[in-house]
């Protein structure tokens, strides 16, 4: 394993130190591994707390700030944070307007946020929870853990953050959040595995001529292993299942999001976006907004995911609203 780290056990806490030093607009609770916007709690505003395993850059902290999250809880690499973290964050960002929990649909995240919500209730904080499950690679069913939450969570951060900034109340912010979740679908693929620092070796072995399609964001192997294909074909493998799962032709167009998994250069992501845009055009899907870059990575995995969010006036306006975070900044 080749990484710019010290003791693998300290990766998360040492990265948090760097984030705090690099971004005066953020406050870090090192004991609980929580990244706060410096001015939290914001009076009268619904608080938004997210959290998840570390290793997904720009880290949860990249979306903390005005127009985004109030707090992000960083778990160990690829391990959901613990209830104490969410409890502390929930208490800290509640200004009385209540707190919304953003959870990606993984068993661990669900259970830890569930326990945190139980504890927060004892603290007298009203908590609502929304669960992102946008990954069309996973078949949904009552008897399984359901679909994973992947890159769509980034779009949720932005749009719900803007809604909260507008001063909407808890149920209204939760409502628009559920609308985003209902309107977004994603699909990803990997050219290489990632290497978890504590594990020290790649999570899975992938021959030089193979790729994993329908990949998770924690190095879980994908649904299928296929021969490596040209970008044009890979784009089709990602976009088609997304289009098949929801009608994106209706409405006011889509936000098209090509996300990098960490080690794939931007030049390839833009090339991929060119292919995605061509497929969408053929499918009669109008692109109203575009996002291309490494916004929800899996450590050093090479690969990409495509997400489509069906827009309407409200979502479009909230997407365009000002935001001031490490990862997204516009209008200020």
């Amino acid at each position: 394993m080749k990484k710019l780290i010290n003791d693998p056990a300290d990766v998360v806490s040492e990265a948090l130190r760097g984030i705090e030093l690099a971004h005066p607009s953020l406050r870090v609770d090192h004991e609980h591994k929580i990244i706060y916007r410096a001015d939290a709690p914001v009076q009268g505003k619904v608080g938004i707390v997210s959290g998840g395993g570390s290793g997904h850059e720009p880290l949860q902290g990249g979306y903390v700030g005005m127009g985004g999250l109030d707090a992000a809880c960083a778990g160990e690499v690829f391990t959901s944070p613990v209830p104490d973290q969410m409890q502390a964050a929930t208490k800290a960002v509640d200004s009385g307007a209540g707190v919304l929990h953003f959870v990606l649909n993984y068993t661990g995240d669900i259970m830890n946020f569930e326990m945190a919500a139980e504890l927060a209730a004892e603290d007298g904080v009203t908590v609502e929870t929304v669960i992102m499950n946008d990954d069309v690679a996973v078949e949904d069913s009552l008897y399984t853990a359901g679909r994973r939450g992947v890159a769509g969570g980034i779009l949720l951060n932005k749009i719900a953050g803007a809604a909260a900034e507008e001063g909407r109340d808890l149920s209204a912010v939760a409502e628009v959040s559920r609308k985003v979740i209902g309107n977004v679908r994603s699909m990803g693929m990997a050219l290489t595995s990632c290497t978890v620092p504590a594990a020290g070796r790649p999570t899975f072995d992938l021959p030089d001529d193979q790729m994993e399609v329908g990949i998770g964001v924690h190095g879980e192997p994908g649904r299928r292993r296929l021969p490596v294909a040209p970008a044009k074909e890979v784009a089709a493998m990602l976009v088609e299942p997304v289009l098949a799962d929801l009608d994106f032709t209706a409405g006011d167009g889509v936000l098209a999001f090509v996300n990098g998994l960490g080690a794939t250069p931007l030049i390839e992501l833009y090339l991929m976006y060119g292919e995605v845009a061509a497929i969408l055009e053929k499918a009669g899907v109008r692109v109203a907004r575009t996002l291309v870059g490494n916004y929800f990575t899996s450590l050093d995995m090479a690969g990409a995911s495509v997400s489509l969010l069906k827009l309407d006036d409200e979502l479009l306006r909230l997407w365009d609203a000002p935001i001031n975070t490490v990862a997204f900044r516009w209008g200020v």
Binding site: G53, V77, P81, P83, M111, Y143, T144, A145, H218
Partner: protein, 207 residues
């Protein structure tokens, strides 16, 4: 048995988890996200720290502190699940200072119930439940047959290992492995494997 024995059990489990951390992580890398070994090691190391800090806690307090510690330090799926398991054992311990076999079996069953409520998994979903359920059943049965606690725990450990072995061909329906669909078959479930270590530690250090 009392706090001393329970403490020995947890310490033995901690040693087992540490010795097998790489194996557990390797299993998790095949159908999960390569962290079960480091998760459990991190959690049980913290539990041992708590034991050292409060050596003469009563059984209930000891078990609850172990549960809280796991919840607070592990994260992931195994944190809440193992945490709930020990919390419920603690509750079932009530204020008794000593356990007989029946009381210990009842506590284990309470822990299992906790895991089922928290995780909503059923037998055959390819989770730790597939090791824990047969183990608790075997313990009850052996005690009912009048076996010594030691022998009963041995039977429970064997049942746990058989249950974990039986997860290999299964297609996962809960947890991260479920995302693999058919591809999850042919691999041993990491959580069922660590649960086997828990029962083996009991057989070794209790009764």
């Amino acid at each position: 048995m009392g706090s001393a024995e329970l403490g020995r059990w947890l310490r033995t489990f901690a040693d087992e988890v540490t010795d097998h951390a790489d194996e557990l992580t390797r299993l998790d890398s095949e159908i999960g996200d390569a962290d079960h070994g480091s998760n459990m090691r991190r959690g049980m190391t913290a539990v041992v720290g708590k034991l050292d800090a409060a050596p003469d806690a009563a059984p209930a307090a000891l078990l609850k502190s172990a549960g809280m510690t796991l919840v607070s330090t592990v994260g992931g799926a195994s944190g809440p699940l193992y945490g709930t398991f020990f919390l419920r054992m603690g509750t079932s311990a009530g204020d008794r200072a000593e356990f007989d076999g029946a009381a210990f079996a009842a506590a284990l069953r309470a822990g299992l119930e906790g895991v089922l409520t928290r995780g909503k998994a059923q037998l055959g979903d390819k989770t730790m439940v597939d090791a824990l359920t047969p183990a608790v059943d075997a313990l009850d049965a052996a005690l009912a047959d009048g076996a010594s606690l030691k022998d009963a725990l041995r039977a429970a450990a064997t049942a746990a290992r058989e249950g974990a072995d039986a997860t290999v061909p299964l297609v996962a329906r809960k947890g991260r492995a479920s995302y693999l669909g058919e591809r999850s078959a042919g691999h041993r479930d990491p959580g069922a494997t660590s649960t086997t270590l828990l029962l083996e530690a009991a057989a070794e250090s209790l009764g």
